[in-house]
Assembly symmetry: C2
Homo-oligomer: 206 residues x 2
DNA sequence: GTCTATAACCTGATAGAC
DNA sequence: GTCTATCAGGTTATAGAC
């Protein structure tokens, strides 16, 4: 029985996993360019050289984390949109609830992923070629059936906007003292039921 | 008559202004941390030393650009929200039209400003303390009159979300080949009239 | 596997000639 | 004002001892 892989206890992770966890935190907090490998090593409680021993370079480590985070932010959306046999309303409710829960636990995930995708344009371009998959999804079909007069992407955009954007703009709202943390979380809880209601009302408006 | 300040002709800007313009482009495209002063100098067609001659450091130059960009992104919103004597609908239409026009010309403005505010938390925190100003604005009062049961910030959040977020997520949508440039611009044009309609329908939904 | 020490490189900023 | 050359400091990555 080696000293690694005792996957339950709090501080007893393998060194590799300690580094990854530190990288997750530092990268998402400061972004790739502003992160120094020393920060990650310090946060992980290990030496700098170990980082290069396990992962060959800063960029490779970042790449691993980035794929994880993209999966975390976008991975859950596709299965829901593709699921046949559920109503449009149900899909919307499920997506909003899913995102609100995940974003409350990871508030800076969207800003991190979206800005890093912009900063490394082609590096992550073809990672998920889900364009066609989405275009022929059950969700899009249902939207088109309800509103043939409006491009279905508008509604998907609205759903994502109203759900994700608050977490992106939150730093500003807090900076100008428009909300505090408690206030913000309360609002996000309210939005879990409000957003599906609003989407529904948009679909009805003629 | 010195050789500077002939403010009309295309390439005849003062050196200082050439550097600022280059900084605007490079900073907004790559962010503060990923930008090298050499990039800016090259983009401006001047020498690196000149950058430090006119602006004392990378950080000071960035600070100037950042204030400009924050003003550009948020400065227009407050006057509209405060204006008395116009209907709620009119304010919404005006805001959406204003943003759509400005963002079409500067698509990467929102992602830049929002991520840099996060990266420099306190540096730009107290720059615009418009929290109180907003809370007592005509706009908020009108929202409260229409829907005393829902916090007015929800509607402001929705307005900003549906307007700004598409420009933030656009790089992703293009990467997964869900839209191309032409398609995206067409959608944004449609949203100029759709968003006010949707906001109106949200206000009516009970 | 983990550490210390250091190499190799890059970046912001300045000195000094013109 | 503008340039070339260079410094000082910091950063990634590796060599080599344990």
């Amino acid at each position: 029985m080696g000293k690694k892989r005792s996957s339950g206890s709090p501080d007893d992770l393998s060194t590799q996993e300690k580094i990854k966890e530190a990288a997750r935190q530092v990268f998402t907090r400061k972004g790739y360019a502003a992160t120094r490998t020393r920060d990650i090593a310090e946060e992980a409680g290990i030496n700098l050289a170990l980082l290069n021993y396990y992962f060959r370079s800063k960029e490779r480590l970042f790449h691993e984390i980035m794929l994880e985070k993209m999966q975390q932010l976008f991975g859950h959306i596709v299965p829901v949109l593709l699921t046949p046999g559920t109503t449009l309303e149900h899909k919307v409710e499920q997506l909003v609830a899913l995102y609100m829960e995940m974003l409350t636990a990871n508030p800076d995930l969207p800003l991190f992923v979206l800005s890093e995708i912009r900063n490394h344009p082609d590096q992550f371009a073809s990672t998920f070629k889900v364009g066609d998959l989405l275009r022929h999804s059950d969700f899009i079909r249902q939207l088109q059936a309800r509103r043939p007069d409006i491009h279905p992407l508008h509604f998907l955009m609205n759903l994502m906007s109203m759900t994700l954007f608050p977490f992106i703009v939150m730093p500003v709202f807090k900076a100008i003292e428009l909300v505090d943390d408690a206030h913000f979380h309360a609002m996000m809880q309210e939005r879990k039921t409000l957003i599906p209601m609003w989407i529904e009302s948009m679909l009805k408006t003629r």
